[in-house]
Symmetry: C2
Subunit: 341 residues, 2 copies
Amino acid sequence: MDLLFLGTSSGTPTRARNVSGLGLLEETGKGWYLVDCGEGTQHQLLRTPLSLHELRGLFITHVHGDHCYGLPGLLASAGMLGRKAPLEIIAPAGIEPWLRSTFSLSQTYLSFELVFRACETLGPWHCGTLKVEAVALSHRVPSYGYRFTEARPDPRLDIDRLDRHGIPRGPIWGRLVRGEDVEHEGRILRADDYVLFTREPRRIVVGGDNDRPELLAEACRDAQVLVHEATYTQSIADKAGETFGHSTAASVAAFAQSIGLPNLVLTHFSARYQADPARGLSIEDVRAEAASHYQGELYLAHDFARLRLGRDGTLMLVAPPQRRAGSAVSDSAAGSGAGTV
Amino acid sequence: MDLLFLGTSSGTPTRARNVSGLGLLEETGKGWYLVDCGEGTQHQLLRTPLSLHELRGLFITHVHGDHCYGLPGLLASAGMLGRKAPLEIIAPAGIEPWLRSTFSLSQTYLSFELVFRACETLGPWHCGTLKVEAVALSHRVPSYGYRFTEARPDPRLDIDRLDRHGIPRGPIWGRLVRGEDVEHEGRILRADDYVLFTREPRRIVVGGDNDRPELLAEACRDAQVLVHEATYTQSIADKAGETFGHSTAASVAAFAQSIGLPNLVLTHFSARYQADPARGLSIEDVRAEAASHYQGELYLAHDFARLRLGRDGTLMLVAPPQRRAGSAVSDSAAGSGAGTV
């Protein structure tokens, strides 16, 4: 399971960072999920191997523009590319009528169905190969985090049970191990009854904007990774006298330390933190502040950073594929990435 | 007066071209106007010298997403940057309620006022230093072109008249020549009564999506430049059996030839026309088709192309300012620009 960052700036885009967007990729490298969709997310996707045909679910954490203004254009482009598969959108309830009225204004008729689920009332639920839970956070508007759990980690047939139940070897076993329920001699065999999972599932928690990281304590139980905003450093927040509903690097790091979280990925940085410290405050200030509160593995995201969560629960940077010389955004990513991830 | 192209692709962005956006710059190089605002227009602006503080008017040709989905983000960013000056938005009437509901959903409160004018009912009207007229075109949805006329080309005082009317030399004259109406001895002196314009005004016509270029014949009278979409070549349109409400390079060029237009700028190209012909149809096919129907000065726009309309009515390419090595979009612009403009 990979995390591919499409936007890591808060509020407004900069030359090096777009507004929020995060791809969560299945291990196959094909099916993927999108968390938040700021303006320009579809443009960022053009610089990645991700296809809008293979998008399995789209999650919005809250209604602020830097997290959702890219939705109409991304969906319209998926339509123009001829997507047919229905797309599940998990979002605050206000997103659906806004999108529908936007498409009505622009006379946009999609070639595929949008299936909306309000995150306010989402129970534990499956999307593609993941189990998903929503967690209410604390921000200026209602905001949610999502906990993604691998639904079928390394399935293996429960052969003893299959034999006890007299289910013959053959194609049926193959379908069961792939997770398909099968009709056999007039009854339904549920795949989950005949499959054992041979390791702990991978769990990734992605927070929306949030000024109380501790609200994610339960969601982070047994999770290997938390991706969370760290819009400001504490010193800047102290000077401003408020955080505008955001977390500081210190507050998120202290929370992660308190629960023994193995991997923390910070993102959604104020534009004041620059890759080049000569131009202002440095992103290294954010890193230093977080590192002083947290002893686990710490990553600061940048656009197009790709992190892989292995089956053993370790998180590591994936070397980006070789990029075409002169490619536009690759240069930008390389520039912004100096010293991060 | 300069034209600075921010997006030249139709429908969806590509790696080399964004969707529609066109900056029209006053000769001072500071105040400017934006025609259309596809998604990512604010991102493109980050690669130009243009400031959202100096934007004097925003014109939308029609409600299709690739011409307006960038509005909410661009306006929200202008607000976050602290813009205070009211902004005039000239657009189809449906844009205002959509923008207001979008800001309501996202709880976005701008720091400046939006002043909407419906292009459907716009009479001749002044915006900044320009006189503007809207022209109804033909497309799948109502679409408009805009004719921009320099309102005060090289003003000079009518000294004979000032003397005849006994208006004394001094600060009053200075204010009149700058276009200010002045109160003097209990009556209002209208600047336009005491100023002569010493050359023909520059006129630029910018079309929206349109399959009947001849609807712009009257607007193009005395205009030096027409910027018009040429989404397809005629051969592709003939194969498809329809144009989806768009013009072909041939139809626009033939129209421009028929009215003796001195400068034609084509834009809004289908993504099938690539800068690198090895990758598909070539943008050079568009140029060749247009050139075979038009003997005036022909330009094919690319992102970040900047054209200058001089006081003498000639249009020329402005060399882009020296760009930072490794700058992201400059590479992209250079790549897409091979063989264009």
